[in-house]
């Protein structure tokens, strides 16, 4: 059965991809036309954070109920989140090249935060693969997941607010709310966020079903 929100996500992304290129944007120094990346770069990060949050919620659920299904969802959501970090990084890197003049800079705490977040989730998958017993693996991975998410949250959300950042809204740079006030941009940005988050849920839904099927198949044998 096709669910309505899947169609909605496809329509929204299609709309933002086309209208995001066509509509008028404020002419700003340095940013110029690259401001359109707000429609793609930012929503992809939102989708990533959403998936990682989803993963933590199910990790907590697993610890309280001890069921296999929550662990499967938690694992798959972490994978989806890591997957979304790649386009997020690439779009961000392109944007940095044309505005800050470099593909990557260590001066910006958000960039470092993202690199660390990717390392944390890679460590999570290595931890998972090194434990054979299913229930034990699920429990230990859930513990690491919760701990790592909190540290990542500190890294991405709290530390950049303290130090200078090249990102808008941090370290004395104007927040995007200022540019967003342009109602033209809002018309694309908000649908883009909803579209990408729904799209990530769609991916998660497919992955979840696959993982559940392979789990029950393995248990039959």
């Amino acid at each position: 059965m096709i669910k309505w929100w899947k169609i909605l996500s496809a329509l929204l992304i299609f709309y933002t991809l086309t209208w995001g290129m066509l509509n008028s944007v404020p002419r700003l120094d340095i940013l110029n036309e690259t401001i359109r990346n707000v429609y793609y770069h930012v929503p992809i990060w939102f989708a990533m954070i959403f998936q990682m949050g989803y993963s933590v919620v199910y990790a907590i659920k697993h610890l309280s109920k001890n069921d296999v299904q929550s662990d499967i969802i938690s694992n798959q959501a972490a994978q989806t989140g890591l997957f979304f970090s790649i386009p997020g990084l690439l779009t961000g890197s392109m944007w940095a090249k044309f505005t800050w003049g470099t593909w990557w800079t260590f001066e910006d705490p958000k960039l470092n935060g993202v690199a660390i977040a990717m390392l944390i989730y890679l460590a999570y998958f290595i931890l998972r693969s090194s434990i054979i017993d299913e229930l034990k693996r699920a429990r230990i991975a859930a513990v690491y997941n919760i701990f790592a998410f909190v540290m990542m949250f500190v890294f991405i959300m709290i530390l950049p607010r303290l130090t200078d950042s090249l990102h808008p809204g941090n370290g004395g740079n104007p927040a995007f709310a200022k540019y967003d006030l342009d109602s033209n941009m809002r018309m694309v940005f908000y649908p883009a966020v909803i579209g990408w988050v729904l799209f990530s849920l769609w991916i998660l839904d497919i992955k979840k079903r696959l993982a559940t099927l392979s789990y029950s198949k393995n248990n039959e044998e």
Binding site: I116, I120, S130, V143, Y144, F147
Partner: protein, 219 residues
């Protein structure tokens, strides 16, 4: 919370450590050797930023090394004994406090040897020691839990490093910032917000470790 029992756990850890003097001596040799190697290879460090970074990298490796031992000695029988006698919250708190004491001492030792061989650049000693103290307590909170996780996953040393390095990152960046301020001799008022973040991180880390250890404990 039973304080007497907590004391007992900490005392037990110390007894075990001092009975087996080879591990403690091993750590000491490890500290001296790493500091000596870096002193020889860098010859003379002129930039404060390099001095600072090198110190924290050395310290991070030492600390991960110490912490990885804290759950590795827990054999199956010992684990059962601990499970019967202590409650998990007290047990992990005991481990954390023990690691805190150990790491704070070893951080001072590392700093001592480091400033002996490489030379000290610190202008505001008080600030530096405060930064060192609070970061070693936070490290012990993170690493005690990571060591417990690694010990459940077949105890390999590389897993400990893989798990703990990314998680330690926010901590180490705040510590580096603070100690850089101390090296430059900036006024304390500049560093307050970092100090507050570091202390808050201490609380967060220790609270999380005590809550989460409960779930690791049961086999």
């Amino acid at each position: 919370m039973n304080v007497a029992l907590l004391n007992q756990i900490i005392k037990k850890e110390f007894l075990l450590e001092f009975r087996q003097k080879s591990t403690l001596a091993g750590i000491l040799v490890y500290i001296i050797a790493t500091v000596f190697i870096s002193a020889l290879s860098f010859k003379k460090i002129l930039q404060p930023a390099v001095w600072n970074a090198l110190f924290w990298v050395i310290f991070m490796f030492i600390v991960v090394n110490i912490a990885s031992k804290s759950f590795m000695q827990e054999t199956k029988g010992k684990g059962l004994y601990n499970y019967l006698y202590y409650n998990p919250r007290q047990f992990i708190l005991g481990k954390i406090i023990y690691n805190m004491l150990l790491m704070a001492t070893l951080s001072l030792l590392t700093f001592f040897f480091y400033s002996w061989f490489v030379g000290s650049m610190v202008q505001d000693m008080g600030m530096f020691l405060v930064a060192l103290l609070f970061s070693s307590t936070a490290f012990s909170g993170v690493l005690s839990l990571m060591s417990a996780i690694a010990s459940k996953a077949n105890n390999n040393m590389s897993l400990m490093a893989i798990l703990s390095f990314p998680v330690l990152m926010p901590l180490i960046l705040v510590s580096i910032k603070l100690s850089k301020h101390a090296i430059d001799g900036l006024a304390w008022s500049v560093s307050y917000k970092y100090l507050i973040i570091l202390i808050m991180l201490n609380f967060v880390v220790i609270a999380l470790a005590t809550i989460l250890f409960n779930y690791l404990w049961r086999e």
